[in-house]
Symmetry: C2
Subunit: 317 residues, 2 copies
């Protein structure tokens, strides 16, 4: 979920000030708890309840539509690092990735580490890359489990988990660690596109029923570097990504993406050797909900105290 392309001129100083103000009010209300690192926050009881309710609402919507046909999975915040390779995340979004490094030394090196630490040096260099990394998108954990031939109708997966993206920000809506719930479709190109289109519409309805003002907009991912510009241009030209934006900081500011749909063509099918019954690489699409972002959009729209929210909204959560 990325910044939407926007034609109008944005007063960024004013935007940052509103973001900072919103974050301060969330801290004051005990909804979010500061940790000292931008984008890493504890959740107070009410925020935890709210995100659980949103997650349950999405889960219920998936059951309503797909029933038992959708496989429900959740994954831990870490995954094999090798998946960053196979998804090409390390090629396309290295700046957002988080790898897990660990200490593999013995007693002697540990004494050095502690001596350096006592002298005020960073001990991070004593840690080495491990075989696990942080999950950047909930659906990435799914594709490795689908390697092989799909059933005739393909697969639907309702997947949730914590994600990590390295983008420290004072904007409370841009967290480094956040929860995502995605409805993933893997199968023929036609099935993937249809899933993308119907779920983008359904997600917009679901958000509108929470009294959020939702706007659909074509979007691109923040591909890295010079080569990334071409990838983004191609993604945009082929209309592969759509975001559902909600105004968090006023109508004169860009909306915040609280959900997004992505059609990956056969990218994951090829990289994870997933084939349809006729032997072709599977296509995939997903609709991802940013759980904390929806919570923040609700708090921004209806106020920090849930007791004063419209009854129709609370009734759903």
């Amino acid at each position: 979920m990325t910044r939407a392309a926007t034609a109008r001129v944005v007063d960024f100083t004013e935007l940052y000030s509103r973001q900072q103000g919103f974050r301060a009010s969330l801290f004051d209300a005990g909804l979010l708890i500061p940790t000292g690192v931008d984008g890493v926050y504890g959740h107070g009881a009410e925020f935890t309840e709210l995100t659980s309710a949103i997650d349950a609402l999405v889960a219920a919507a998936v059951r309503e539509v797909h029933g038992g046909a959708a496989t429900v999975l959740s994954f831990p915040p870490v995954m094999p690092r090798e998946v960053l390779d196979r998804t090409d995340y390390i090629a396309s979004f290295p700046q957002l990735a988080g790898a897990v490094s660990t200490y593999t030394g013995g007693d002697a090196e540990h004494r050095l580490l502690l001596a350096g630490r006592a002298a005020g040096h960073d001990w991070g260099g004593h840690f080495r890359a491990s075989d696990v990394a942080l999950v950047p998108s909930a659906c990435h954990s799914v594709y490795p489990t689908l390697t092989g031939e799909l059933p005739r109708d393909g697969a639907w997966i309702d997947v949730s988990g914590h994600c990590y993206r390295r983008e420290p920000s004072i904007d409370p809506a841009r967290m480094q660690a956040f929860r995502m719930r995605e409805i993933v479709r893997v199968g023929s190109d036609r099935a993937a596109v249809a899933h993308r289109d119907t779920w983008a519409a359904r997600a917009a309805d679901l958000l509108a029923e929470l009294d959020l003002r939702v706007q659909r907009a074509p979007a691109t991912d923040p591909f890295f570097g010079r080569g990334g510009r071409m990838l983004a241009a191609s993604q945009s030209a082929d209309n592969l990504k759509t975001e559902l934006l909600v105004p968090l900081y006023g109508d004169d500011m860009p909306g915040v993406a609280v959900a997004s749909s992505n059609y990956h063509r056969d990218h994951f099918g090829v990289h994870f050797d997933i084939t349809t019954v006729d032997g072709a690489p599977a296509h995939s699409a997903c609709l991802g909900f940013g759980i904390e972002r929806i919570a923040l959009a609700l708090l921004a729209a209806h106020g920090l105290d849930r007791r004063s929210w419209p009854n129709a909204v609370n009734a759903q959560l």
Copy 2:
């Protein structure tokens, strides 16, 4: 939560074989999903529901005992890396810690990374230590929020979150990424010790009501290296850690710790400048529940199909 000291001779070959067999049956039943890394598993729908129910049961027990006096918090899987310093985790348990490394280079270095990767080299070395690390224990995120003077009665915190420990294992009960819910008490030494004792008893009751055969045993943490042996001996001599063990692999094998109580004396009070009203460093104690481990203990005790569990157990979950 660590291996309990055990006097009897354990047939480790047999133990590993039972662990592997249990894990295989969990995979076959779709309760856990393999990822290719030992200790990192996806959760199927039924396992997800079971862990949620266990988490809710603990939450309800806390409300029943402490009502509004306990502050309910949850934290993301990452925290400031500096907390590993302040808790002394980097001194005592470097081998279990996970730090997050990220890519901070530009286009040119990224081309090198990709060229090396294409040639089959590990790109992990292109990542640098960031300012965040994985949370090793749910309660560690809490202490930084308490810096300063506590209220007269001290504080109770009900905290939950994902934890990470670097201990790859074929034992499904030893996950690298897992959920923990802890009831933390911070205040006078007397308050901390009383909390530890009453909650260890309450937790044993709660587990026994789930028809689990629970045994309390003194335990030590797996402190690192040669110096660690002294720390463990002191922890043991002062009876600071107690584990609640449940047999997962047969009565002839060591039980698995599904919960543990820890009395930290003024360790966190000193390191995070938390003081009681009379100006002394606060003492702390916690009772931590290993959510996945309780789920696995239930599956081991009552069978993989929840529909065949005792009604009295299902009624509580």
